[in-house]
Symmetry: none
Subunit: 485 residues, 2 copies
Amino acid sequence: MEKFESIHLDKNSTEPLYIQIYKGFSNLILSGQIKYGEKLPPIRLMASFFDVNTVTIVNAYKKLQSDGFAKSKVGSGTYACFLGDISSKSKHSDKLVNTTKDKGIRFDFSAGSISPDYFPVKEFKEIINEVLDRDGGYALEYQESSGYQPLKESIGHFMSVQHDIDVPLDEIQIISGAQQGIDLIAKAFLNSGDTVYVEAPTYPGAINAFKSRNASIVEINMEKDGVDLEDLKRNIKNNPPVLFYTMPIFQNPTGYSYSTEKKKELIALSCKYNFYIIEDDHISDLYYTEKPSLLKAFDNSEKVFYIKSFSKLFLPGLRIAFLAVPRRHFNKIALAKYSSDISTSGLSQRILDLFLRKSLWSMHINRLQRIFYEKWQETLKAFDKYMPSGIKCFAPGGGHFFWIALPQDLYSSTLYHEAIKKGVSIVPGDLFFINQKPSESFRLSTAQIPTSDIDSGVKLLCESIQSLIDNTGGVFRGPGDKPLL
Amino acid sequence: MEKFESIHLDKNSTEPLYIQIYKGFSNLILSGQIKYGEKLPPIRLMASFFDVNTVTIVNAYKKLQSDGFAKSKVGSGTYACFLGDISSKSKHSDKLVNTTKDKGIRFDFSAGSISPDYFPVKEFKEIINEVLDRDGGYALEYQESSGYQPLKESIGHFMSVQHDIDVPLDEIQIISGAQQGIDLIAKAFLNSGDTVYVEAPTYPGAINAFKSRNASIVEINMEKDGVDLEDLKRNIKNNPPVLFYTMPIFQNPTGYSYSTEKKKELIALSCKYNFYIIEDDHISDLYYTEKPSLLKAFDNSEKVFYIKSFSKLFLPGLRIAFLAVPRRHFNKIALAKYSSDISTSGLSQRILDLFLRKSLWSMHINRLQRIFYEKWQETLKAFDKYMPSGIKCFAPGGGHFFWIALPQDLYSSTLYHEAIKKGVSIVPGDLFFINQKPSESFRLSTAQIPTSDIDSGVKLLCESIQSLIDNTGGVFRGPGDKPLL
């Protein structure tokens, strides 16, 4: 009965005794001192323990039941049935943090999204409270399907200031993350069997979205300055696509960006052969050399569906992005959105709106630019120091992805297993191709690793590569020949 | 002071006096007997009226304030402010509230979702800050696609306590609202041209989701005790479906619920003819007579995909719901989810988790049950008083929808235009059928209208109906014959 001694009753309180007992019990259950499935003491015993009427205990137990803390079994008694303690801060977030550590990964070069340590949590908290104080319940109402009007205004302003592109508000569709943008366009434009082109390698989520529409997917080879135009033209002649999916800036997984010429040529081809282009802008904000211009900036023919993710560098958990839709297709996309999930969280939209309006977004991006530029320098330096000779590493103009080719016949999945033993993780290139064919290239990402760990991590990785080369004596071929820093 | 005589105190109750007084006042405010903005009587006066200590009245008034029923003005007193104390908030929410008022709608019987005035904003704010303090940036990370594990545990617990159904955690897929659930099932199971059955009338969002997959949609007539089984069997013989979409409890738009026999028969048919059932549980929590049992409770053959929305009665803006998926189909649904939008907001999931764990969800539902039960009574009373003779109104067992049939050849769209002139809005039945054919029935919803406005609103609506009858001399036929209250 010891644990019940922590429940102190105040018989002079305005709070009725049964509520006080109820609260005491629910605290014991929440804190795990009464375990899930544990039988609560008999009513008479508790009544004498607390020196109250049995009715008081009956009422407390009843409230525990109606609030889901306990369950009564006929003829047997009352049992705690709440679900243990997960509310303690440390345990909870530790568990989350340790998911990679559990696997013994000390140097994580595999994560594709940035570490939560970089999120502007303090500002986020202030903003969310401001939104709730301002709008009350209306912040949590259904939102117009195309999006919250003030956010569209902020986005229009953002596109004009950041990218010098005029996006009319009635061409903006707010979406729940970039993946939904790809899925909505697929839903609106693809029939079963239609052809879609993707870059090879490319983002696997896009492949999934097109597969889910039973599309026929064709890979077009990716080069350091954009898609291989010869390969593209060859394919167009045989089997022109309905859609072409591209990440023209700091592509995932290669980090490659299109040259201006290739951007113009791609738009020209889309006009000539009448296909649409999905421009997935996942990370153009994070540039280190010159500011890149969007593919959409070259589109005068309503060919480009531009997807801008705010999740990648900001708060993935908000699930927010937008789609700039050529006007004549807007209704089609709006209907696809409505039938998919009605609308994107109005709360998330209000939060992003204030982040943009208060310039917190640009402050956040500036901060990330500094952090990731350092990581980029550190990574390139480490490549220079440790990479086995013959393996050339391309330095992307921004982002946090590096695409590295191993010697011929040395598969990246072999490296993956080798490196894991040293506590280093990378992503084998296989995952970025439709049929996940064995690839000699792999993706290295600095999204999560602290700057101070990069040198040691790359060193260990390069030792793994060297030992595999020593064992197999592979022939070198690298995808890049740009000099390192 | 007359109205306060309706408050009877029981000094022997386990419920403290201040709570009894609080309840009496909140009922007077909810029912409109204390008007918005009305000053509550001075504390001393009330203390002598009820023959209690002044502290008791102070505590009752404090609780009215903290629960949003009243506001204190310094040096002036306490004023009722429930329902519509939005004028005092920012201009911003005025704008939102006035969208219907701008159209001259004084009595809104058309809205399908409950008023933001009912949202537990204060608790929401506390919870969101607790989540951010506890998890920091991790609350805003990408979430595992199937959902946040602790939320799945809470949901498992909820289903066991509320519905006495055991839902294993690995059969739970968290989704961004019920609409997404319908869309994901369509995505996973429908090929172009496949047949889907829906009830007639039904929720238009479901029709949209099936149309977007190019499904062939067949309407099965809905009756007061569930779908018309003869109509269903006839159709199955010609053209069996892949999916059957149903809202078995307090259907939208009719408010009808399935009898136990029809539930069993529907499951039996799905086994015999090998189709799946989507059970859309939009509002089963809001029952007034007996607690309804879910269709899923009768499913022993992995036929039912159960969708539970938490948006309808809670916070639509969170965009959160869950899908209980028969185990052998889980991977298919998980892939559909991943390719659609990767995951549902981790922040929303954490918030709902704490609402469930802290029993704030059940407290919220209890409160709504009281409010909407009063609205239901008020509506049925008003029907009884004002509805032209010959028009029978079915009293649903819960929810906030009423489905009313006008005399033959008197179309509900005609009534819609007539009623709008008097400032009353309803939804013509046309919208709830596939081809939006002219319907003589309409949906009346009490989701947004204050209880105190129901009598006047129904009176005006019935005057519109009567004048149309007088002009056309329609033949009566009603869908229901259950006696009114």
